[in-house]
Assembly symmetry: C2
Homo-oligomer: 358 residues x 2
């Protein structure tokens, strides 16, 4: 399946399906005199013999720490050493960290060389793979510098998920659940019928991926630069989520935090009188099915997640305007609304409801 | 005078004339909640009280050394410290180094904030101010990373040249002479009638600037991304020029090297049988009038400018393709041609003709 995703003045071509990563590799090898592959150590170990073998690979350690200025510099130097010029291409093979770093390096190397992406994690496939956001972190914060630089082609290949660790399935499914709340049908029903065992069934998995990616594609196509507020709806579950992640000192996974953020957000929506369909049982059962928590230990709420720490984190959110917090909240499955500056008390109440009742 | 310069999917507005820098400053102060000024120490000393006073200035030491990754990082941190968000703007007040660095910082900070430019040197006004190229150097070479990110508005204000040192006049005039060879009439005649004393006559200077900037505007409008070869004609005088600059260990000014490059290029064109109008006397007299050399010491041709060193420099040129040197050469005043891989012997001969006959 091939889809063109228009993104402002440029566009991405999305290749979706079993074997699409091989197809993309063949196309690039035929089209470019030089291709530099950017990846992380784990992914290279798993895929380096099968995909782009014989091409120069620049690898970074797995993890957010690689989205640094030092790694960016090393990547530029690697490209220079390889003699890459403007007629060459860069392809990211990995998760979101690799794609962000490689895309930013490609967007700036000799004022921009062609960029391609092969996401290898579920999270990167449904979230980071389309949309054009690339960049790195600074010591002051995440994603503070970057570009809009869409990959010319993105291959989303369910084949590559065969060796994905359980923890990364959870991380990815948290975003799929978020996409399903945003889109509603048919993704919501499809997701509810998708069980762990279905991961081994290529066509079912491909179908789920297609539906989940479609949500992101629609949103970024209609609002590539976050001007209308539509793209900002992808922030569903993330205002609480990012704050919880920060308070946990990143001990909790991003997926777990987004799941918790979805639960707290739904309750805040209820407390604000905005929720018109109570889908809490379905949401909790989806989270549980994919190994995602929906509660926090009561003791932790008096420690790392103390409300003053949470406020500190919420106050740093990039989406804030004029000091007011911004929450994307569900109205029903398939409909969300954006709320600026809700009452701090209600925000706290919904958060405290995450305390494990046991 | 206001001109819209289309540049690919975006555009720059050029404000040209006495007082245009004040006009731009007033427009920005009215339009943005936050403006960060980027400049160098010298320019700030000269202009900081008159232009954008009361705004936060980030200054770097004057000189190419400031186009570094470290300075870029410091600039991003300064913007963060100032609390600059996506609704703010960055304005470069300075020469080409400041504009390149500030523009690249603006293009990448929070994935891009609005960028404006007030060139303060003649060179930056006629050369770097329009065209959208921004970037920094790496230890491996100049301008290796960057972007196309046109300033939204550029103010070219002859008022700011009142305190320009003699050496910078020479540097800028070398590019004006190059533009005149590219355009021919009316700039060529206008330039030949423009004497040192005319620099104090605002209207004559404004007229010269308008004509010289016009050449760059036409070229970058028609070929913003160097696809057709038209923009590459701006490289006239620069193939020899860059090599000479490198061999001199940057002891010779860029302007002096471009002047020498124009002379050697004209002679190479003659040797290749391409030159159809011998304008050597006019070219030499223009260079002399503006304090630019047209010869090198014979002893130096056996030392720093030894032919094997020149070859080493020529081989590193970014415009080379498949190992062949690229020269933009004059056919007549107002017409140039691009030559790939001319005979090394003729290239050497034309270069050696620069030996001072005295």
């Amino acid at each position: 399946m091939r889809t063109i995703v228009p993104l402002g003045p440029s566009e991405s071509e999305l290749l979706l399906g079993l074997g699409s990563s091989q197809t993309l590799a063949e196309e690039l090898c035929a089209a470019y005199p030089q291709v530099v592959v950017v990846s992380d150590d784990n992914v290279r170990r798993a895929l380096g013999d099968k995909l782009f073998s014989g091409y120069p690979w620049a690898t970074v350690p797995a993890g957010e720490g690689s989205k640094s200025l030092d790694r960016l510099h090393a990547l530029w130097s690697f490209m220079l050493e390889q003699g890459l010029d403007r007629r060459g291409a860069v392809v990211a093979v990995g998760g979101g960290v690799v794609a962000d770093l490689a895309g930013f390096a490609a967007s700036t190397y000799m004022r921009g060389v062609d960029f391609y992406s092969v996401p290898t994690s579920l999270l990167a496939m449904v979230d980071a793979s389309v949309g054009g956001k690339v960049g790195i972190d600074l010591p002051e914060g995440k994603n503070l510098v970057g570009q809009f630089y869409p990959a010319k082609k993105v291959a989303v290949d369910p084949d590559l998920l065969g060796t994905l660790p359980e923890s990364e399935w959870s991380a990815g499914m948290a975003e799929v659940i978020k996409h399903a709340v945003l889109q509603g049908e048919p993704l919501w029903s499809h997701l509810r019928g998708f069980e762990r065992v279905h991961r081994q069934q290529g066509e079912l998995l491909e179908h789920l991926l297609a539906r989940a990616v479609e949500v992101k594609v629609r949103v970024v196509t209609e609002d590539p630069y976050e001007k209308t507020g539509l793209r900002a709806t992808l922030n569903l579950g993330h205002t609480y989520g990012h704050a919880i992640e920060w308070c946990s000192n990143f001990a909790l996974s991003h997926g777990a935090c987004v799941g918790l953020g979805l639960v707290a957000g739904m309750r805040l929506s209820k407390n604000l009188g905005l929720l018109q369909q109570d889908f809490e049982p379905e949401l909790l059962s989806l989270l549980e099915a994919w190994g995602l928590p929906s509660t926090l230990q009561p003791a932790a709420l008096d420690a790392e997640y103390r409300w003053d720490r949470m406020c500190q984190a919420l106050n740093r959110d990039k989406k804030n305007k004029d000091g007011r917090w911004c929450f994307v909240l569900p109205v029903r499955v398939g409909e969300v609304t954006t709320v600026w500056g809700p009452s701090g008390e209600l925000v706290e109440q919904a958060f405290l409801s995450l305390a494990d009742p046991q």
